[in-house]
Symmetry: C2
Subunit: 319 residues, 2 copies
């Protein structure tokens, strides 16, 4: 089946989306967009390569859905609200079934998080994709990595380690029961970008990022950008029962600290904001756990039973 | 040499660029950007794959320089002014020499066209790159593909066919003298995005795009978006002496009509604006040639010596 680039775009990706702020969408040399007045434009780009970030034979629906969700996680980490995204898609061949499923997954995530496809590029080559998400965030409050101060508390949203546990399931190294398996695979393929949570933390958190490479590695970035150190109490790490029931404590903690693909937020909290956080938690708006504190010095120290432990594990390194 | 993703970004791509509109650049979850008041944000994404868009063993300096220039050509086609760009770079391995040269080429083009690198992603995989350029354009005047009207003149900037001729040189199918060879290779590796020209055409041209797939194919997009047809007079096509001196008239015209990679602008001109265009040309601000006219109907008709000719050649199709 010979399908041209332009037909392909029209067939699978062009939807008549007359969305707020989209003056001109797919189909011209550029998309023309209007950022809401008084807001910063927040942008983040992610590249995903077959065989590196996902198995080449994985479901294209899940690949697409995961790709957009993971990219949206970067907006969440700034406290930004999603607006638009672009997609650069490279395919060995334009297989109609693959594309149909890919577009279903892509638009499912796009619709769920109110993020509109406004442009991109399609080309032939080894399977990979680059997405860029665009969001809006209040000029003053955006959650940066550089705002942590000594004495702040270290917090995380949700549970940690599920991403690494799911990868073990996918790699046939972990065999939990059906419910746990389903929960973990859903966490991996359909991670929930903490967008609402990020926006709730505007004016509350002093620094934030999303945990893609493991808590130690990512909290380390906050420490580096803020010129501080951090202590994490291993016993306080939030672990899902689905993971916890199927692995040892040691394995669960290692995945929570150094596994990747969790896409929860790690944020720091000035002591004066602890009540505000507790109110958000008590009202059911935010699931968050205090796991440590910011200290002077540099780097992340892990503590178990009150004593420092030396873990050689580090975050996932793309090279 | 084991070099981590973060070191790699810092080493080759992080420059302390405190540029207008960049509230936060590389190094956080998102870049934070401010679009000039009263302007649309114009964005365009291009993916370039080794073995498809450039030879895998081509100079990384030239690959980078060409990639950004080609992407900027999309901003030119809207009449937009460049602001920022992002880069998703996928590499088989982080070779320091390759990266050093790549960054030299990238920043040479970025500096020449006042476009600041604000973020992106680096990952391991088959060599490819996705760039997204961001520009600003006046809300009312942006040059779209849909504005051509019956009776408008069809114009192009610069010369056509040099991109295809250069590709023939690179593929060792054409052997011009040293000067012509140098001129053509420079046109291929360092195409000049018609940014100044595009901005000059705001309020003058009724429609525009950049010619990446050949005049017939690209003018065809204007026709389709504007619901009109077009006639091109082959004898009026602007050809460079470097190309013309080394190939037959037939070859030169074919490349001018159906070759790719020219990155000149094709635009349509209401008759009432012909004087304005002539003034721009006479003052030396714009090099442009009238090559045809917009008519009723659909599609692009080519005319030679006043008579329609049927050319089977079509634009480059990525699939």
């Amino acid at each position: 089946m010979a399908i041209g680039e332009f037909d392909l775009i029209k067939c699978y990706f062009e939807r008549s989306a007359s969305s707020a702020g989209v003056e001109l969408g797919i189909g011209d040399d550029c998309a023309l967009l209007d950022v809401p007045a008084g807001k910063h434009l927040a942008v983040s780009m992610d590249t995903l390569v077959a065989g590196v970030h996902f198995p080449a034979d994985a479901s294209s629906r899940l690949i697409a859905e995961r790709a957009l969700r993971v990219n949206l996680s970067d907006l969440a980490a700034m406290g930004a609200e999603p607006l638009w995204f672009t997609l650069g898609l490279t395919l060995p061949e334009p297989n109609p079934d693959w594309l149909e499923n890919f577009s279903v997954g892509l638009f499912a995530a796009a619709d769920e998080f109110n993020c509109v496809l406004v442009g991109g590029d399609t080309t032939r080559g080894p399977l990979s994709m680059t997405l860029q998400v665009h969001g809006a965030v209040d000029s003053k409050n955006a959650l940066r990595r550089s705002g942590a101060r000594i004495g702040d508390l270290v917090c995380v949203t949700g549970c940690l380690g599920d991403g690494a546990a799911a990868l073990a399931v996918i790699q046939d190294k972990l065999w939990p029961g059906e419910d746990a398996r389903e929960y973990l695979l859903d966490r991996f393929y359909r991670p929930r970008p903490q967008l609402v949570e990020g926006q709730l933390l505007l004016g509350v958190a002093s620094a934030a990022l999303d945990i893609s490479d493991g808590l130690i590695a990512d909290l380390g970035h906050i420490c580096e950008c803020s010129n501080v150190g951090a202590i994490v109490d291993i016993e306080r790490l939030p672990l899902s029962s689905a993971m916890r029931a199927n692995v040892s404590v040691m394995q669960a903690n290692t995945w929570a600290l150094a596994g990747g693909d969790d896409y929860q937020l790690c944020f720091t909290l000035p002591p004066a904001k602890q009540l505000a956080l507790q109110t958000l938690i008590d009202s059911g708006q935010l699931q968050a756990t205090i796991v440590g504190e910011i200290v002077s010095g540099s780097g992340v120290i892990c503590r178990s039973e009150g004593v420092e432990v030396n873990l050689s594990a580090t975050g996932y390194n793309h090279f």
